[in-house]
């Protein structure tokens, strides 16, 4: 077991330093690259926080949908193959719901400010 602090705490400290102290000190292309780098670190922080739960949920859905077990990569490849072959179509029970939920989980990490994601999220909350 590794010692404290945990990765999420270290990342948060690095992000705060870069955004609040380093970014105001630089300009031009460096400032642009630094801002992109901060965005990238924030994405990684969200991934660390969110993916253990979302990967488990995705794995459970894939297992149910395909009727078989395997790694999440192998199951996704299998799903892609079946769609390509036409064995699974938008009419197949659970397929579209699975893909929307998986994509929603990706966007929660990749780009939670994306307008179409925010709208989907609002709809989900309205239903809950």
């Amino acid at each position: 077991m590794q010692d404290m602090p945990k990765p999420d705490a270290i990342l948060a400290a690095v992000i705060d330093f870069l955004r609040d102290r380093a970014l105001p000190e630089v300009s031009g292309r460096t400032a642009f690259d630094l801002r992109v780098s901060i965005n990238a670190l924030e994405l990684v922080a969200r991934q660390i926080a969110l993916t253990p739960a979302s990967d488990a949920a995705e794995h459970a859905r894939l297992t149910a949908l395909l009727g078989q077990d395997g790694t999440i990569e192998a199951l996704n490849a299998r799903l892609a193959d079946q769609i390509r072959a036409g064995a699974l179509t938008p009419a197949s029970p659970g397929l579209i719901a699975h893909l929307i939920e998986t994509t929603r989980e990706k966007l929660a990490v990749d780009q939670p400010k994306y307008a179409a994601y925010r709208r989907l999220d609002e709809k989900n909350q309205g239903r809950a």
């Binding site: 892609a80 769609i83 179509t89 938008p90 998986t102 990749d110 307008a115 179409a116 994601y117 709208r119």
Partner: protein
């Protein structure tokens, strides 16, 4: 690199603007691996004039998809002469110019950032008219006779789907949503037009120079080709070019109805909305494939590696857009 460009532009200056006393400024604006864009200013007696240089320093880097810079310049001249708002092409680079392949055009002031065009109060009066303007401009582009322009490829609708399928099949990472979109596209290919039209190929918010009164110039003819003109009508509605204003499908500033009505009124063929929807799905997948390609062939040592990581992770945006489109189409 910058010094070599400055020297070459200084030598070229008298031919671009007679009476020039020198190069007053020069900076690189942007550009990918294959193409560079430079803004430079020539001082002359009592005035100065700004120009844009678009060049490929090393022609071997040219993408297979690109029409080529000479073709781009020829198309801009053709479009400008037909009344399409366009920068004036003032010089096509010759080998002796020492700047590689490309051309020099007049600088057109205005905004190209989609985000600002969609949100900034400076464009509040322009926005309601932009979709109609785009319709009229596209009708004019699709009417152009590009028979005399070398380097334009003919692309059938089926070939466009096949090219995306090939790209998706080449990715190391499997994407079930891309596969679903490809299946749908393969089953809904519209018939090719009897006579292929000139297709701009990248007509969207972000490639237009806009002023407070409306569109001032159409840019980036890099992906121009001959084919189905409805591709341009679908591409401008792709969600990625709405910059958050998702309820205004055309560029985040207008409705499809306004675009189609102006297009037909300006002499464009009557619009088959279902066929355009095919091209909106095709365009969304195309942008997704471009994003995913950034991550699939990532060189971590490249100067723009972080940017490419982030662009790669934007492929999921197009997956959500594709799922929404396919649900609507069902």
């Amino acid at each position: 690199m910058s010094e070599a460009v400055r020297a070459a532009l200084s030598a070229l200056a008298p031919r671009l603007a007679p009476g020039t006393t020198g190069l007053a400024g020069c900076r690189r604006l942007s550009g990918g691996a294959s193409q560079e864009t430079w803004l430079f200013e020539l001082a002359a007696e009592g005035e100065s004039r700004r120009f844009i240089l678009r060049r490929a320093p090393d022609v071997q880097w040219q993408s297979d998809l690109a029409a080529g810079l000479g073709t781009e310049a020829a198309l801009m001249r053709l479009a400008g002469a037909a009344g399409v708002p366009s920068p004036a092409v003032v010089h096509i680079l010759a080998p002796g110019d020492g700047l590689g392949e490309g051309f020099v055009m007049s600088f057109v002031a205005g905004e190209t950032l989609g985000q600002k065009i969609v949100r900034d109060p400076a464009f509040a009066e322009a926005r309601p008219g932009l979709a109609g303007q785009c319709g009229r401009i596209l009708a004019a582009i699709h009417r152009l006779d590009a028979g005399g322009v070398a380097g334009l490829r003919l692309k059938t609708n089926r070939a466009k789907v096949d090219a995306l399928a090939e790209a998706v099949a080449g990715f190391r990472e499997r994407r079930p949503v891309f596969e679903l979109a490809l299946r749908w596209l393969a089953g809904h290919v519209p018939a090719d037009p009897a006579r292929p039209a000139l297709v701009h190929g990248d007509f969207r918010n972000g490639n237009l120079i806009v002023g407070p009164e409306g569109v001032r110039a159409v840019l980036d003819w890099e992906l121009a080709h001959l084919g189905d003109p409805r591709e341009d009508l679908g591409w401008i509605a792709v969600n990625s070019w709405r910059f958050g204003a998702i309820d205004l499908p055309v560029g985040g500033f207008g409705t499809r109805e306004a675009l189609y009505a102006a297009y037909a009124a300006a002499g464009g063929a009557p619009v088959d909305a279902a066929a355009v929807r095919f091209f909106e799905v095709l365009g969304t997948l195309r942008w997704g494939v471009i994003c995913a390609g950034n991550a699939d062939q990532l060189d971590l040592a490249a100067a723009n590696a972080v940017e490419r990581c982030i662009i790669g992770r934007r492929a999921s945006e197009t997956e959500l857009d594709l799922l929404n489109l396919l649900r609507e189409a069902a």
